[in-house]
């Protein structure tokens, strides 16, 4: 049986999740729902980036008894996307916390979470 590799599967999965998150962001009207969709979208982008850095038959970029120090370049996967994603995840949780705080403030001001009810900027 000829199955696609893991990296293609996770790449496709990342794209579908990205579209789902985008659809949630633009279609939903509850602010908390929008933030949840944002976190789904965030995860999908990380998935896409990491799967681009993957290479077949290679192992994690950590040198111990399983990977020799001298020919690490032919045994490990790309460390650069992983480092970028590491940064992105931490920033993602910061942004999510900040958005939730703003949502809380809005709720305390207006008493609702539906964005259609916020009319003070409409004219």
């Amino acid at each position: 049986m000829n199955l696609p590799g893991i990296e293609y599967l996770s790449l496709g999965l990342g794209i579908v999740l990205f579209l789902a998150g985008l659809w949630g962001i633009i279609h939903q009207k509850n602010i908390i729902k929008i933030i949840i969709s944002f976190s789904v979208l965030d995860t999908s982008i990380h998935l896409i980036l990491v799967s681009i850095g993957y290479m077949r038959n290679r192992t994690a970029p950590i040198i111990d008894s399983a990977v020799s120090k001298t020919d690490a370049a032919s045994q490990v996967v790309d460390p650069l996307p992983q480092a970028l994603v590491l940064t992105a995840i931490v920033i993602g949780v910061g942004i999510t916390a900040l958005m939730l705080t703003y949502a809380l403030k809005l709720f305390n001001e207006k008493g609702t979470l539906e964005i259609d009810k916020f009319k003070s900027l409409k004219w």
Binding site: M1, L3, P4, G5, I6, E7, L9, S10, L13, V16, L17, A20, G21, W23, G24, H27, Q28, N30, I32, K33, I35, I36, S37, S39, V40, D42, T43, H46, L47, V50, S51, G53, Y54, R58, T59, A60, P61, I62, V76, V77, Q82, V85, L86, I89, V90, G92, V93, T96, A97, L100, T101, A103, L104, F107, N108, G111, L113
Partner: protein, 83 residues
Amino acid sequence: MSYTFIVIIMGIIMLVMAFTAIYHKNLKVAVIASGIISLFASVIYIFLAAPDVAITEAAIGSALTVVIFFYVLNKIRLTDDTK
């Protein structure tokens, strides 16, 4: 072979959870569903040979985000009850 099988299963579950997270009326369920998406994403990172990212996703993406979401939901509910 079994790797592919389990990745496909986790992918299906993640898509179902994404649908739940976006469309479920109950916010608590939506938050838990997004937590499960992060959980399986971090298992997929292990398949993709990225244990660093897997730890970060499990610690920060899956647990802390859910905790902060629930704190905020609690706050919203508390104010709601008094009104």
